[in-house]
Symmetry: C2
Subunit: 142 residues, 2 copies
DNA sequence: TTAAGTGCAAAGGCTTTGCAGCATA
DNA sequence: TATGCTGCAAAGCCTTTGCACTTAA
């Protein structure tokens, strides 16, 4: 699996061990194909390895984040959500009705960011844009 | 104080009591002139009213948020930050070096939001844009 | 007067951490 | 073999909640 290889090689490059737990968690993050929180990741992990601990899940997420393999985001609740870092940045529409998360690309968004960086002498490393509201289905209901 | 009046009248309109605690907390939120978290708000509150409880702080913040008096945001840490809702929306630059938060206005941002709403049939009620990175000072250091 | 609000303390949910044993390189 | 990693359990934070007392209207 090409994708898994990317993750594990990033671990190796920085001198981290490739453990069965980390390999499993990376696989699950790729399979998730989107946003997943630590609790759900742990739930899926113990299905494949009953002995894995929550501590390992949190420690791995923290490491993956540090290595830039995943993005962390807060979508309104208490907990964080994670997803494999994508080549192209995308932003989020969060439905307050059904909780659905819609990923969107915003045309020319990068240009706006570049302008902001210039105007404020600020070097942007990460952008998070969350738009809360109501999706088509939930909007029609009310 | 005109500003305080706004807050308390919003309470009254919806049939909520104006208590000394709520008045104090609204005052402190206005005085903060920016982002403040529940813990800091509580710290400032007990300086003026030693008997106020954390529960009241959290319950009041929750009420103010529901009434649309304040905005809640997550700036990277575990806890939430709050600020009096401003007439004009502004967005945030968050410095990863010194933790400074810079509020910015983005020209024509509302137009972009409108387009997104239209394109995705999504009714946006709240927009959060966080740009993490390094401010002028911290950018120069590295 | 009376429903709403408060303080207190305990509990809840998510995340982190210390430590002894285990596994990768 | 020697670090680094893991599992376990406990602790840490932030936030919420139950209950009896208090207070605004």
């Amino acid at each position: 699996m090409k994708r898994e290889y990317n993750g594990t090689s990033a671990l190796q490059k920085k001198g981290h061990f490739i453990t069965t737990q980390r390999r499993l968690l990376l696989d699950l993050l790729y399979e998730a194909e989107g946003h997943i929180d630590a609790k759900e990741l742990y739930r899926r992990a113990i299905e494949k390895d009953a002995s894995i601990s929550q501590a390992t899940v949190y420690r791995s997420l923290s490491l993956f984040k540090e290595l830039g393999l995943i993005d962390e985001m807060r979508l309104g609740g208490v907990q964080c959500y994670y997803e494999i870092k994508q080549g192209i940045d995308h932003q989020h529409l969060i439905c307050q009705g059904c909780g659905k998360i819609i990923e969107i690309d915003i045309p020319h968004f990068q240009e706006s960011i570049n302008k902001i960086q210039k105007d404020h002498c600020f070097k942007v490393t990460k952008v998070e844009l969350y738009m809360h509201g109501y999706c088509t289905d939930c909007g029609n209901k009310s």
